[in-house]
Symmetry: C2
Subunit: 220 residues, 2 copies
């Protein structure tokens, strides 16, 4: 029984890593489609999001079965409850990658972002991809140094997000209202993606160290 | 032991209702501050959000203790896992009410929304308040008729959200870029608030009927 239980727990961990890899792939493709107005690639991301949702549901089912059948306690219980929360954050990251791809599709054959901000959004993309890749690495290794890299990337993302809103508020901003809204929403999607990445990183940190600062992200 | 267990379960249910009432109060005050540029009221909402976060954390701690100490199965287990998810959605609704109040504070002494859209945002406020109030009622009574009212209000909110983006895209839209962004973000906050309300309503429906359509909101 004990061996089955450990296998089941390991399986949940592997599911999380698999979802995290799909999220990495989604944000990579979404940002490319977004930067280059590649509508086929955008379509791929939108279609692939269903797979992330499916995997989240099967992970959650598996976690609930473990709760029901094995009655885990202490660190095993924390790991299961933590997995339910991490899967919800990863699923939401997949949604946000899909939202970015949907913006690319909506504005095709134009690009979403005006010339003057392409550098900013290229940096957004790099940081969000970094966060997604590091998240997989963190789930695989539980190396807390990696969690710190994620926090650092998130801080860069917050700066970028602020700079976008400052650019929009400047007197020389000349873009159409529709473009203005696209830029603001895209900026928020990139920023929320990073927030959820930090949220997962904090949960892994909690599972490793037992130290927990609940909700410290959502209220930043 | 069994009696203690049932009391603990009931306590989780009461915590959910209490959080839901605070969310109702938050969205009511937030929308008033937003409509009337009442910065003191906005400040109240922002400060009161910490209480919602605190209650969510204590509910979650309680739920995890029940999982650890009582090893619930079947419908009790579903109720506990469902409560963890509902508390996360309610906490997020509190955040969104706070975001609306923060917009009001940011633009004080002006109002956030231009004249032409005050009617639309008044309707947004009414629907979100309706959803929050009905959510408390649903958690108290588990009357699925109330869940249907929430779905209906959400559908109105989605229509309002679309109408805002159409208004911004019209050639006669004359507002500043900063106002345009405020309007778009505020519209998204109202819409996400309603989404999370539906998400809670669906979880209650699942707990009552056992029929579950996972994630049907997030991907609409």
């Amino acid at each position: 029984m004990r061996k089955v239980f450990q296998e089941e727990l390991a399986h949940v961990g592997e599911d999380l890593i698999e979802i995290s890899k799909l999220v990495s792939e989604a944000i990579g493709k979404a940002t490319t489609s977004f930067e280059s107005a590649d509508v086929d690639l955008a379509q791929d991301v939108i279609a692939a999001d269903a797979r992330i949702d499916f995997l989240q549901n099967s992970l959650d089912e598996r976690a609930i079965d473990i709760l029901a059948l094995q009655g885990p306690v202490a660190s095993d219980l924390r790991m299961i409850v933590g997995s339910l929360r991490m899967s919800a954050s990863l699923e939401r990251m997949g949604d946000l990658a899909r939202h970015i791809a949907q913006l690319a599709r909506l504005r095709f054959p134009s690009t979403v972002i005006p010339e003057a901000l392409t550098g900013t959004f290229k940096s957004f993309a790099e940081q969000d991809i970094e966060i997604a890749n590091k998240l997989t690495q963190l789930l695989e290794t539980r190396d807390l140094e990696v969690a710190r890299d994620i926090l650092k990337a998130n801080s860069t993302v917050n700066d970028l997000h602020l700079s976008v809103f400052k650019a929009i508020a400047r007197p020389d901003w000349q873009e159409s209202p529709a473009t203005t809204v696209d830029v603001a929403l895209a900026s928020r999607y990139f920023e929320r993606f990073a927030d959820h990445g930090v949220s997962v990183a904090q949960k892994v940190t909690y599972l490793v160290t037992g130290a927990w600062h609940p909700n410290s992200i959502e209220h930043g």
